[in-house]
């Protein structure tokens, strides 16, 4: 019997959901063996695991040689030759960095870890100071520690046009030269004056312009002073750097430079100013159209042919610049994807509130866009981390390069040396890449909180 009218007399209470009727085990079995196809896939998967895993465990652990001092200790066993890794460990990490000076890269790595860890932990305090130290101070300190500093700077800007002959050779005795530093001071005054004149011409605030220019020049001066001072550190050429140290330097520089540069390029590509837009498109498409190997090769062997004779760049520096620009072009496209997914309404709401372009981008658009493309960004970082190994092509020996170089040592020539070395490299790369991936997932979950609703 149906009724035409219905009026509820009492509201139904909220109840907890019913318990799953069957146990975890039976659900497991059901999903693995439900159909003949499922059954076949399950058997196949188990078969593959059974085929691969036991030999791997046997090689890496059970049959491995764990102690010893030479190849003779490893010849007896069929498994990995871990003493080889132990003996070569220093070389894998530092390359041919002089053993007596290895405290310097150690210090750099320790500083890096100390500064990076609190930066990555969202709850850690003093983020701004921390970021300033990591992105501003740390690179300079690392540079001085690793190279030894004391660059013996000769000319700044004016010195290139004028001759400072009278005082050119005179130094302070602490690694500084009169010629350079008077040049720097005069150049700074000239630059500030030019900036002030330009500001006056454009009817902008002269005081603000002079302050900004002064601060940039002061910062530059401090950096130059730091790298020019003689701290009494023995110089270590980048040629003797190597191993994991180089891998980290190339990867971290690439990562730290490519993100901001990529963001700028992405914004430029969406700019309404045609000159900016086309310049960015040209840059991005050029770097994306060329293989990284070509870039490195070009930077190292071809560039010197085009540059003036007295302009020399360090090989590692060239590779760093090449990798960073290459990565930035890829990053730009990832970021652009994020920018495109932000609705026009967000731009309009920000504009209607009176926010200018940079504030709109920095406060409203980029925080949302970058959050959306975290998977793509991390994908790039991981790709970059592994691509660093291509610097081998220009005779820079990163971790993999060092490991391969060490295979040539007759003292450790065994049938398993090769596999042991690559297994070690694989573990190192995996730890870092997997770490990045997990951290990115964590940040994704954190930042996505606002999108999930209550």
């Amino acid at each position: 019997m149906t009724t035409r009218t219905f009026v509820r007399t009492a509201f139904a209470p909220n109840e907890p959901p019913p318990l799953e009727a069957d146990s975890t085990a039976s659900r497991f079995a059901r999903s693995l063996f439900a159909t003949p196809a499922n059954f076949a896939l399950t058997v196949l998967s188990v078969g593959i695991v059974a085929l691969v895993l036991p030999p791997l465990i046997r090689f890496l652990f059970l049959d491995a040689t764990w102690s010893g001092t030479s190849r003779d200790d490893c010849l007896a066993n069929a498994g990995a030759c871990w003493p080889f890794v132990r003996a070569k460990f220093g070389q894998f990490i530092y390359g041919f960095y002089p053993a007596a000076e290895r405290w310097r890269p150690n210090l750099v790595l320790a500083f890096g870890a100390l500064l990076l860890a609190p930066l990555l932990i969202p709850a850690a305090p003093f983020k701004r100071t921390n970021a300033l130290l990591f992105f501003g101070v740390y690179p300079v300190v690392s540079f001085v520690l690793l190279t030894g500093g004391n660059l013996d700077l000769q000319k700044f800007l004016l010195g290139r046009f004028l001759q400072w002959t009278t005082v050119a050779g005179v130094g302070f005795g602490i690694g500084l030269r009169w010629a350079f530093w008077t040049d720097f001071l005069f150049s700074a005054v000239v630059i500030v004056a030019l900036v002030a004149a330009l500001a006056a011409l454009l009817r902008a605030s002269v005081f603000a312009a002079v302050t900004a220019a002064g601060m940039v020049l002061a910062g530059l001066g401090i950096i130059l002073l730091a790298v020019d001072l003689d701290f009494g550190l023995a110089p270590v050429e980048t040629r003797s750097w190597g191993g994991f140290l180089v891998t980290l330097i190339v990867a971290v520089t690439g990562i730290v430079v490519s993100l901001p540069l990529g963001v700028l390029l992405a914004l430029g590509r969406r700019s309404r100013m045609p000159a900016v837009r086309y310049a960015c498109i040209l840059f991005i498409e050029f770097w994306r159209g060329v293989p990284l190997i070509t870039v490195l090769f070009f930077a190292t062997y071809m560039l010197p042919l085009f540059l003036p004779r007295d302009v020399t760049f360090d090989t590692l520096l060239r590779a760093l610049i090449g990798v960073a620009l290459f990565a930035a072009a890829y990053m730009a496209e990832v970021v652009r994807g994020g920018l495109q997914s932000i609705s026009r309404g967000q731009h309009e709401a920000a504009a209607a509130l009176g926010l200018g372009y940079w504030r709109m981008m920095g406060l409203i658009i980029l925080p949302q866009a970058l959050t959306l493309v975290i998977p793509g960004i991390v994908n790039n970082f991981i790709g970059l981390f592994k691509d660093t190994t291509l610097v081998l092509i220009v005779a820079i020996f990163d971790l993999l390069g060092q490991i391969r170089a060490s295979f040539a040592d007759p003292n450790w020539a065994t049938p398993v040396t090769l596999y042991t070395g690559f297994a070690f490299a694989g573990v190192i790369y995996f730890v870092f890449c997997f770490g990045m991936s997990r951290y990115a997932l964590y940040i994704e979950r954190r930042t996505a909180a606002y999108g999930r609703g209550s």
Partner: protein, 257 residues
Amino acid sequence: MNVAMSTPTPAEHTLVAVEMAGVHKWFGQFHVLKDINLTVMRKERIVICGPSGSGKSTLIRCINGLEQHQRGRIVVNGTELTRDVRSLDAARRDVGMVFQQFNLFPHLTVLENCTLAPIWVRGLSKAEAEMRAMHYLERVRIPEQSYKYPSQLSGGQQQRVAIARALCMNPKIMLFDEPTSALDPEMIKEVLDVMIELAQEGMTMLVVSHEMGFAREVADRVVFMDDGQIVEINGPDEFFARPRHERTKLFLSQILR
């Protein structure tokens, strides 16, 4: 309020909030605004209605420069809108806007949505901005939601936050672009109530809306647009009781049943 229909003399000029004279605009080849002449006085409430595609939204979006007009002149609070960015900044300083889709910033809490522009554009301290934000959030009756993210609020609540966000900039003129069109029926009233209060306090308002009850209650004048032009302007009583233009009669017969 008939004075608003005539061109103001210089003495009256300070009483004019928005003046649009001979404004034209095109989207590509499409002539979207045709010869718009509208003068809005201080404290006046204007409701703009008309069929979709008639150019209502484009008209009010020209007032804060979200769209640029191509002919004619628009003066907002004494500042003429030109290609100069500074005139745009000056106009936006005085004009708040509420959108159909709310357009709250989803990555910021309700409170941060309200304090962002006062801090970064007006240069208020964080404490001042938060005090002001809480003041307006109380006025739109959601102070207790200030720590939540927009996605955790209902549509009506989000739109009230959007109104509070605009008010935090202390605008002299408020633009509403179909503020209730994206809302569930049950939530329309809570937003309209806030708007009515705002009108009673003397805010200059231009509202694109099909809420005829709202127009009847608070509008000083109702503007009817069709095909990119203003077809009829009249006081609400006259407008609804005795529409003069055939197009207006047809429109009203469609929506008032």
